[in-house]
């Protein structure tokens, strides 16, 4: 796709030391992220969220990150000092979490938070930051930005909160957006709207998107490329439009276990987990 990928990860491990030994949450995965929409799919415990956090070096002790390579736009971030990481986080890479309720500060108005967030990364005047924040709110389809600007997080609905989060995260013009289940706390009808907004912004700005979700169908519809994770490894990777040709029984199982309104089945297919999946070497998703 591009010559220097936005993100280049090789043999990434995330380990946790516990009483009963070392637990490996992510076990040696490799992938790249260009200016594309990359979906990372898996069940809970598959290590997908840990992957997203590891890229931002947001794993707290006793967790450890190890990798042969962890480059962001050619810059090694595995050994970068914490100060540099703070600059990158929210500056060149932004993350949207599942529930806006927990990511927004409850005692600051939406406007204050957005201005603060922007000024933490760029030297801009208050009035300019305000103007950019308002413009950004407008871009995420918030009808009355001036009014929303003065609201507190508890005064906005879930869908609106998530759109505010998106606006806030995109303010400093990041190159990479990591969205960890950005719509699963939202109602179905709001979900689509939020996804459309993310989609439009990512396209318009030519960003790289890492979309982490448990919903394979949603990801297939929304992303260019899909990585399927199981037990900390990548079991399969494919282009989104080729998902129907997926080979791995785990991928097929995930696809077929969803109840489908239009094609009812007497009995839903149940995954028969093969211990061999766990041991099979991780598939590389580098391009």
């Amino acid at each position: 796709m591009t010559d220097a990928p936005l993100l280049d990860v090789e043999n990434l491990w995330v380990r946790f030391r516990t009483r009963s030994g070392v637990f490996d949450a992510v076990r040696g995965i490799s992938f790249t992220l260009g200016k594309e929409r990359l979906g990372i799919v898996g069940e809970s415990g598959s290590g997908k969220s840990m992957t997203g956090r590891a890229v931002l070096r947001l794993i707290r002790p006793p967790g450890m990150i190890e990798a042969d390579r962890l480059d962001m736009h050619g810059e090694d971030i595995l050994t970068a000092p914490e100060k540099r990481m703070r600059k990158l986080r929210g500056g060149r890479v932004s993350m949207i979490m599942q529930d806006p309720k927990f990511s927004l500060n409850p005692v600051m108005t939406v406007g204050q938070q957005m201005v603060e967030a922007l000024r933490a990364h760029e030297r801009v005047s208050r009035s300019e930051a305000r103007a950019r924040a308002l413009a950004m709110l407008d871009e995420v389809a918030i009808r009355d930005p001036e009014r929303v600007f003065t609201l507190y997080p508890h005064e906005v609905s879930g869908g609106m909160g998530q759109r505010i989060m998106i606006a806030m995260m995109l303010l400093p013009n990041p190159e990479i957006l990591i969205a960890d289940e950005p719509t699963s706390a939202l109602d179905v009808s709001v979900q689509l709207q939020v996804l459309d907004i993310i989609d439009k912004l990512v396209r318009d700005r030519g960003m790289g998107l890492m979309f982490i979700s448990h919903d394979l169908n949603l990801v297939a519809k929304f992303c260019d490329r899909i990585v399927i994770m199981y037990a900390g490894r990548i079991v399969e990777t494919c282009k989104a439009d080729e998902l129907r040709n997926a080979q791995h029984p785990y991928t097929l199982g995930l696809l077929n276990s969803v109840p489908d309104l239009e094609h009812p089945r007497e009995k839903l297919e149940v995954l028969k987990r093969d211990p061999a999946w766990r041991e099979a070497p991780s598939v590389s998703a580098r391009q």
């Binding site: 069940e43 179905v188 448990h214 519809k221 995930l254 276990s257 969803v258 109840p259 309104l261 149940v270």
Partner: protein, 250 residues
């Protein structure tokens, strides 16, 4: 015969100026052995209806007849041996300090079930867990296993009606499939009547024959699952919901 008859049910929270009407003038019947679904977005009042039937919300008016019993402010012990509920969050629905054995034996003890020891083993088999899980604590179980225990607890007294409050929404899709299959099997084996609440039309469509669509505490419409599959909804809101979920599924 109808297992459940609800007439002009109103449910509210708070009083005076803070009063919030969660359910307004809702009426519906559920036949014996039927499976009825309630769908709607968060805050539409669908879960509140279940909780009111179960007796967890005291502030309601209207008429409710469940399993031939006219419901008042308090529920009798006999009511709870006929009606049971499964909750949404399997991580919150089991006491963190009690083993599976303790949870099930206490439920049976309260309903004066004889021969508790053998019943527990057969109950665990029924929900597909096996007796190896009998003495485990909730933190030693996965989400799906916890939900199976919660279902076993609900079945401990051999009820005829099961109220299901989003029983699979906190689970992975593959685990969701297992639980849905289990619920289908149990319903056939035990001749159960279900009311199931969900925001996922696919899940409701899989398990229920008739579906009530709710918005802002009211019924928008009630339609049969076949009508829903053919996308033959009368109200624009239902159509909007259907389109969103069809879209999100494919």
């Amino acid at each position: 015969m109808n297992a459940i008859e609800i007439h002009d049910l109103n449910v509210w929270f708070g009083s005076g100026p803070d009063r919030a009407n969660a359910v307004r003038d809702v009426s519906f019947d559920v036949a014996d052995g039927e499976s009825f679904g309630l769908v709607g977005e968060s805050g539409s009042g669908k879960s509140t209806i279940l909780r009111t039937i179960a007796g967890l919300v005291p502030t309601w008016s209207g008429q409710m007849t469940v399993a031939g019993e006219q419901l008042g402010r308090r529920r009798s012990k006999a009511f709870y041996s006929k009606v049971q509920m499964v909750f949404q969050d399997p991580y919150a629905s089991l006491h963190p300090r009690q083993t599976v054995d303790r949870v099930l034996s206490e439920a049976m003890h309260l309903h004066n079930v004889p021969d508790i020891d053998t019943r527990i083993v057969s109950l665990l088999d029924d929900v597909g867990l096996g007796s190896g899980f009998r003495f485990r604590y909730p933190h030693q179980l996965s989400g799906g296993q916890r939900q199976r225990v919660a279902i076993a607890r609900a079945l401990a007294c051999d009820p005829s009606i099961l109220l299901l409050d989003e029983p699979t929404s906190a689970l992975d899709v593959s685990v969701q499939a297992e639980i849905l299959n289990l619920l289908v099997d149990l319903r056939r084996e035990h001749k159960l009547t279900y009311i199931m609440v969900s925001h996922d039309l696919g899940v409701v469509g899989h398990l229920c024959e008739r579906i009530g669509v709710m918005k802002d505490g009211r019924f928008v419409e009630v339609l049969a699952v076949e009508e829903m599959r053919r996308l033959e909804a009368k109200s624009p809101y239902t159509r909007h919901l259907l389109e969103s979920s069809i879209n999100s599924i494919h």
